[in-house]
Structure formats: structure tokens, C-alpha cells
């Protein structure tokens, strides 16, 4: 297996609230290989964004990261001091957010924001930084970049703002780009453009992309590998085609099953219940209450991530024991 660019082992994030400790992320393992587009998919509240922020060590009180390991290249990010961590942000690891317009500073012109970043991390002089910023705007498909350079976020459309966010995130040539639901606030046609751009820019700059989304369609269209998250835990990790052809975790099955289809005349399925409350989560599998294949064991002990086929990993007793059983259901769905 190729050496991972980012390897998260046993990452746990707790939030101390008045109701108790919220276990937003619980023992997440994730490996991202250089050059790939890794999808992280899951419902709202499944801990996708928290995981992303934890990679950058930007969990703020009342949240805290329980020591695990986040290995980026040869460093464990959780052991770095704040002074060592800061230069990595925006320079080696960048992030883009789901609402582009509110993620740009409203009082600074968009070009200026890119320029400042270059001067901060690359120590470029103002003239070079400016040319570099304008060139980057051109690359992400901004028309008339010299003019847009001076515009403010409120004067631009959401799609334009997201292009600018992408330009800003990639202008420093980061090794890893975390895209946290980059298309949520955009309409469908623009969203497709943005995702195409993201993919193209990733290939051009050689950045590895961690794409967080709740949309399996996006995963199918753009990712090479995918991790399915549920209630703060990784349920299943696999190559994208493998996941769609041979989903093992009942939650993944349900997710795939709940994609609306127009070609088959069926009622769209939903997943019963909600993500369980994360204040005092059940000790066993967190999907147990919503699962069709639930057994006694599921409620007692949390299933470990186990390799099913090659690097297709799954955390489910049912999948482990009766892989045949779930595969049959998978076959049904495929058909």
C-alpha cells in the first residue's frame, strides 16, 4: 500500500457542554494517500466537519482533541506546538468552507486576501504576490481577474466566491486541501462546475483533496476513495467503485438505497431514526438502533475496523460474520 500523506489514528474529539460530554468524533481512523480525492460522507452531525477542523487543530473550547495521532507526512500534528502548527495551516494544509461568501472577509478585497496569504506564507514581495494572485484568479476561471481583484465578496456571486476560495486555498501549493461541503450553498449547475474545477486544480497542483460531503452522488462522481461516517465513527472505508458495488456496512447500504432514482418506480427509502445523541452514546455500535441486522453483540461492544477485501475496511459484526448475507442485499440493490 502506498505511504499515506495523512494518517489519522484513533482521533477523538469531545465537547464539554452543560448536558455532558458530547463525543462528536470517536476513535476515527483514516488514511489519505497522495494524489487521491478522498471522500468523507455522512449525515449532518456525523462529525465530518469536526474531523476536518481537528486535522488543522482548530477545535476551540469547549471542544478538545483527545490524544490520538494525526500523522501528516512525517509529523504528528497533535504533538506540534502552536508555533509549529501555524505555518502549516494555509501553506501545507488548506481548507475551503461550505458558504463561500461568508468565508471571505467582507472588508477586504478578494485579490488582496489572496495576496496577503502569499506574503504571509511565501514571503513574496507585494509586486510578485499581486501578479501571482491575479494569475491564480485566472486559473480558477475568474473572468477579468484584474478587475475582480479589487471587488469585495458582497459584489460577487456565490460561485465566484467559491472559485476565489479555491484560488486562495491552492495558491500556496498545499499538499492537502480539505473541502468541507464546498457546494452546499450553491445551485446544482454551479456546484458541478466547482467540483470539476476542484478536481482539475487538484490534478494541476498535485494537491490531495479530502472532500467532505453528504452527497453520495458527489462521491461517486469525483472521489477515488471514500470513508462513510456515522455518529462520529467511521463505518466503512473503500475505493469508490468497490463501495458502490459491494457495500458492507448496513448504514452504507441504507445510504446508497436512499439516493432518489428516477429510472426505477419506487418510493425513496429513508433511514429510520436519527443519529443517536452523542452525549452518552450507547456503548456498542452507534448504528444499532437503526440497523436491520442488529444482534446482541452489536449493543454490547463497539465493532472494530476490519479489512474485508484488500483495503476495504468495515466496522460491523454482521458484515464480518455473514459477509454473504449483506452481499446478497447489496446484489439486490445493484440490480
Amino acid at each position: 500500500m502506498m505511504e499515506a500523506l495523512l494518517r489519522i489514528s484513533n482521533l477523538t474529539v469531545h465537547f464539554d457542554t452543560e448536558e455532558g460530554i458530547v463525543e462528536a468524533v470517536d476513535g476515527v481512523d483514516l488514511a489519505v494517500r497522495p494524489g487521491e480525492i478522498m471522500g468523507v460522507v455522512g449525515e449532518s452531525g456525523s462529525g465530518k466537519s469536526v474531523t476536518a477542523l481537528a486535522i488543522l487543530r482548530l477545535i476551540r473550547p469547549p471542544g478538545r482533541i483527545i490524544p490520538g495521532e494525526i500523522r501528516f507526512e512525517d509529523k504528528n500534528l497533535l504533538e506540534l506546538s502552536e508555533e509549529e502548527m501555524r505555518p502549516l495551516r494555509g501553506s501545507h494544509i488548506s481548507m475551503i468552507f461550505q458558504s463561500p461568501r461568508t468565508s471571505l472577509n467582507p472588508v477586504l478585497s478578494v485579490g488582496w486576501q489572496i495576496e496577503r496569504l502569499l506574503r504571509l506564507h511565501k514571503k513574496e514581495n507585494p509586486k510578485t504576490a499581486r501578479d501571482h494572485a491575479i494569475q491564480m484568479l485566472k486559473q480558477v476561471g475568474i473572468p477579468a481577474p484584474e478587475r475582480i481583484y479589487h471587488e469585495f465578496p458582497h459584489q460577487l456571486s456565490g460561485g465566484m466566491c467559491q472559485r476565489i476560495m479555491i484560488a486562495m486555498a491552492l495558491v500556496t501549493n498545499p499538499k492537502l486541501l480539505i473541502a468541507d461541503e464546498p457546494t452546499t450553498g450553491l445551485d446544482v449547475s454551479i456546484a458541478a462546475q466547482i467540483l470539476d474545477l476542484l478536481k482539475e486544480m487538484g490534478e494541476r497542483t498535485g494537491a490531495t483533496i479530502l472532500l467532505i460531503t453528504h452527497d453520495l452522488g458527489v462521491v461517486a462522481g469525483y472521489c477515488t476513495r471514500v470513508a462513510v461516517m456515522h455518529a462520529g465513527q467511521i463505518a466503512e472505508t473503500a475505493d469508490v467503485s468497490e463501495l458502490f458495488h459491494r457495500p458492507l456496512h448496513p448504514y452504507t447500504l441504507k445510504l446508497i438505497h436512499s439516493i432518489p432514482r428516477v429510472d426505477v418506480d419506487t418510493v425513496m427509502e429513508t433511514i429510520p431514526g436519527n443519529v443517536p445523541g452523542l452525549v452518552h452514546p450507547p456503548p456498542g455500535c452507534r448504528f444499532a438502533d437503526r440497523c436491520l441486522l442488529v444482534t446482541e453483540d452489536c449493543r454490547k461492544m463497539k465493532p472494530e475496523m476490519k479489512a474485508a477485501y484488500g483495503d476495504h475496511l468495515v466496522a460491523c459484526y454482521a458484515a464480518e460474520k455473514g459477509m454473504e448475507q449483506t452481499s446478497t442485499i447489496a446484489d439486490d440493490i445493484k440490480k
Binding site: 495551516r89 494555509g90 488548506s94 481548507m95 461568508t102 468565508s103 471571505l104 467582507p106 478587475r147
Partner: protein, 291 residues
């Protein structure tokens, strides 16, 4: 691209002026403030007499064409003195406001962004300052530091710092949770730059309103302090001090000595308040389109 920018700026300024002009009274107030400021700047050119030239033959002349506001007990022309006094009042109030705004912004943004013990410390100090009646505090500070104009500036600045600190802190509490604050953190900005470069400017709209209103209060405080004899050194002219001088003659019928400097204070403070209110309406998006 060079020629695009001024066009944009002008358009924004035009929008701003249009909104301001819709409120006729405030627009008038702004014109008066600008006129008074201009008057202060070009005082030597427009004042008919030397403000400090005494003339024993002209004591307490009433309002006339030669002396539109009359003369005082030393025969000094009151119009000239009112014009020159604008320099002192506006300058002291302006410097004090800028000083208070700078220190208040620094403390407020640091305190609001950081939270924790620093926030507590700053807020308790601010609360302590606020627990004194501000005029009494300003009086005490001026008296303690020495009876000089610069100490009046310091006294007013100190009494005004809490206003800005609390206001900016409140804004910062809200703005530090915005997505662009999160974004500023994810790109590895140093903390100081996040606070003062990325977030502080976003706190400013309500602060500009507050500063305009506080200019009015500052002028009142300058005038009030010199009315009781603090700060201003005779024979320099200052509205509050002139009013105090004139107060003696109210009973004997020489009304012009106190009236004109008093009116100057009133009009100036009133205009600052009007402009402050109008700015609040303009900057508050909920008020847009009502007038």
C-alpha cells in the same frame, strides 16, 4: 484596473451621501459641523479682531455691526473669541475621541476575541472606571494630573475608553464566530493579525456611530471642565470658560457675554448627536428604505 477603483469608491460615496441627504435635518447638521470645523481651521483669516486684544474703551459693548456678538469685560470681541475657541474645543474632543477609540478598540478586541481571564480582567477594570460618574472622574483626573489642557484630553479619553471597549468586545464576541474568522484561522494567520487586521475592521460600523455621538459628549465635558476652571489657561478662549465668564453678567443684563459661547456649545453638540443618529440609521440595514 487602475481607473476602475476610483469609480467604485465614488459610487459608494454617492450612495452614502444619498442616504444621508434623505434625512434633511442630519444633513444640515453635518454641514454645520463641517462649517464649524472649517471656521476653526481658518480662524485667523475670518475673525474680525485679535481674540486676546483688550480694549479698555470698549468693555461690555452690546451686539452691534462692529461687534456682532458684543464685547466682554476686557473689551475683547466675542465673535473672534468664539471662532478661536472652536479650535480648542474641537481639537481636544477629537484627540480625546481618537485616543479613547484606539485604546478601547485594542482592549475590546483583545478581550472579546480571547475570552477567559484576560477578558475578565479587562472587563472588571472597565467596570471600575464606569462605576464613577464620568464628569466627576474627568474632573478628578484633571485636578490630579495638573491643570493643563493635555490633561483634559487624557481625562476625557479615560472616561470614554470603557464605551469603546465594551462595544468592540460585544461585536468581537459575535464576529469571532463568523466563518471568515474561522477561515482566517485555517490559513495560519498569527493571532494578532486575525484580531486586528481581519476582525477588528468588521467591528467598526457601530463604533463609528458611537464615536460621533461621543464627540458631542467630549465637547460638553471640555466645556464643563473649563466652566469650573479646569484645563484652559486664560486668556485663551474656550466656549465653556467664556460661558463661565459671562455668567457673572447675566444679572446685570449683559446677556451676550454668556449667550453666544453657550449657543456654540449647544449647536455643536446637537449637530454631532444628529449626525450620530443619522449614521446609525444609515449603517443599520434594518432602517434602510424606511425614510
Amino acid at each position: 484596473m487602475q481607473k476602475e477603483e476610483p469609480r467604485l469608491r465614488l459610487t459608494r460615496l454617492q450612495i452614502f451621501l444619498r442616504r444621508l441627504r434623505r434625512n434633511t435635518l442630519s444633513f444640515g447638521a453635518l454641514i454645520i459641523i463641517l462649517a464649524i470645523t472649517l471656521m476653526a481651521v481658518v480662524a485667523p483669516l475670518i475673525s474680525p479682531y485679535d481674540p486676546n486684544a483688550t480694549d479698555a474703551n470698549k468693555t461690555l459693548f452690546s451686539v452691534s455691526l462692529k461687534h456682532p456678538m458684543g464685547t466682554d469685560i476686557f473689551g475683547r470681541d466675542i465673535l473672534s473669541r468664539v471662532i478661536y475657541a472652536a479650535r480648542v474645543d474641537l481639537l481636544v474632543a477629537l484627540v480625546a475621541t481618537i485616543l479613547a477609540l484606539s485604546i478601547g478598540s485594542f482592549l475590546g478586541s483583545l478581550s472579546g476575541y480571547s475570552g477567559g481571564w484576560l477578558d475578565h480582567l479587562v472587563m472588571r477594570i472597565v467596570d471600575t472606571v464606569m462605576s464613577f460618574p464620568s464628569f466627576v472622574l474627568a474632573m478628578g483626573i484633571t485636578a490630579a494630573l495638573g491643570n493643563k489642557l493635555i490633561n483634559v484630553v487624557i481625562a476625557i479619553a479615560i472616561t470614554h475608553i470603557p464605551i469603546y471597549t465594551r462595544l468592540i468586545r460585544g461585536e468581537m464576541l459575535h464576529i469571532r464566530e463568523m466563518e471568515y474568522a474561522e477561515a482566517a484561522r485555517t490559513v495560519g494567520n498569527p493571532r494578532s493579525r486575525i484580531i486586528f487586521y481581519h476582525l477588528l475592521p468588521n467591528c467598526f460600523p457601530p463604533v463609528i456611530v458611537q464615536a460621533t455621538l461621543a464627540m458631542g459628549w467630549a465637547i460638553l465635558t471640555v466645556a464643563g471642565l473649563s466652566f469650573i476652571g479646569l484645563g484652559i489657561q486664560p486668556p485663551a478662549s474656550e466656549w465653556g470658560y467664556m460661558t463661565a465668564e459671562g455668567a457673572t453678567y447675566i444679572v446685570s443684563g449683559e446677556w451676550w457675554v454668556f449667550l453666544f459661547p453657550g449657543l456654540a456649545i449647544m449647536i455643536t453638540v446637537f449637530c454631532f448627536n444628529m449626525v450620530g443618529d443619522a449614521l446609525r440609521d444609515i449603517l443599520d440595514p434594518r432602517m434602510r428604505g424606511i425614510r
